[in-house]
Symmetry: C2
DNA sequence: CTTCTAATGTACGAACTGGTACGTTAGTTA
DNA sequence: TAACTAACGTACCAGTTCGTACATTAGAAG
């Protein structure tokens, strides 16, 4: 309750946050079973004991990591404003935001991969996540409705399918960067090709939607 | 050299194959560090000792798994014949073959994820893989050339980019099945939606390519 | 200043896990 | 049938890794 931040040697909140920060990197990089509790502790200014003190165990720590990662990305998505754009431009804008998100949060992408590798069994235990998650799709649905009413878009498309189309392109580019680089000698995240792929995604989606 | 197959108690080739079969499932399901050598051995008709006898260690076994998985999928790709189809139909056919492949080989998809999680560091040690891998893209490039010559396709598209477009859609659907199911309550592999997604992919790609 | 507790650190144990030393057997060859 | 080798099995070790018992301290409360 005091204001002497920065010099306190005991700060529960700070310790918790730091543990989750480091754990996010560790789990993203090595997977659930590959991640080492000792390693996470070592890269923190505190000790392994604190992980068990605050979180209870490796699994609960992973849960905390997952929950925070999703909460962050959904919060960012909610800030997008597309109402002042025409439907085509709005869809393109949404695709670009998703594109940028994926590029800016590689650790998140990796966590999604880790969670899928475990059949999403942890995610089901975090009820809060499901509530958070419709925001991006809801935005998209609104835009699609406008486009249909206007007569610009075909009217047999589902918002979730379009979201999947966009996500898959963005996800793949980040997630499979390494095998793609090894097999085809092309770095999908090379800065010089960034604009090209961003435009390509927009063309792809709007092209599909148009009547 | 004898012909008494089926009753031999000692069959090196059979033992090797069986180990790789089981290891493929184990590595795909649990990841590299999550996979247990003891578990692989237990699910085989032989013992852990044989894994070390034939492969040398966990890492070399993983390499053998990876190499065989890629060899299989590339071999299947090579069998596609698109020369008798017009460019648009041929592209659609290639997309569908990729789509079907991904659906039929979930273990392969998971291995790709596992390998990317490790920055594809093992793949670089399997030189044979890189040679194998251009087949799908070469086929596609030929079709794109025909389409351009014919005037049907835009002429600013790269075959590798189109291949990426197709792969990303197919990959995502299989790889992220579980988180998608948990977050949006939609099973991307549900049989009743299979045809829908297959058509959607074809529309998407051919729509993008057309002038 | 004393007391009390949340927060923190140290040291260690039990189970797991990759790997190996050593012995055995099937099947081939002379 | 005797000798030889590839193929196989058992038992075990050494290092790792999650988790915990126990001791300690910072800082708030009275």
């Amino acid at each position: 309750m005091t204001a002497q931040t920065g010099e306190r040697r005991r700060d529960a909140e700070r310790t918790r946050t730091e543990i989750v920060d480091v754990a996010t990197e560790e789990f993203a990089e090595r997977g659930y079973s590959g991640a080492r509790v000792d390693e996470i502790a070592a890269r923190t200014r505190t000790t392994k004991r604190m992980i068990y003190y605050y979180f209870g165990g490796k699994e609960q720590l992973y849960l905390a990591v997952l929950e925070r990662a999703y909460a962050e990305i959904r919060a960012a998505e909610r800030t997008v404003d597309v109402d002042h754009l025409d439907p085509v431009a709005a869809v393109r804008r949404l695709a670009e935001v998703t594109f940028d998100h994926h590029e800016a949060h590689p650790a998140f992408i990796k966590l999604v991969g880790v969670e899928n590798a475990q059949h999403a069994k942890h995610m089901n235990h975090v009820a809060r996540l499901v509530d958070l998650n419709s925001s991006a799709v809801d935005l998209l649905r609104g835009v699609l409705d406008r486009g249909r009413a206007e007569g610009t878009f075909r009217d047999d498309v589902d918002a979730l399918d379009v979201h999947m189309m966009i996500s898959s392109f963005c996800f793949f580019r980040v997630a499979n960067r390494h095998t793609w680089g090894a097999l085809f000698d092309r770095d999908l995240l090379d800065e010089s090709r960034r604009g090209h792929y961003r435009t390509m995604l927009g063309d792809l989606v709007t092209g599909y939607l148009r009547k």
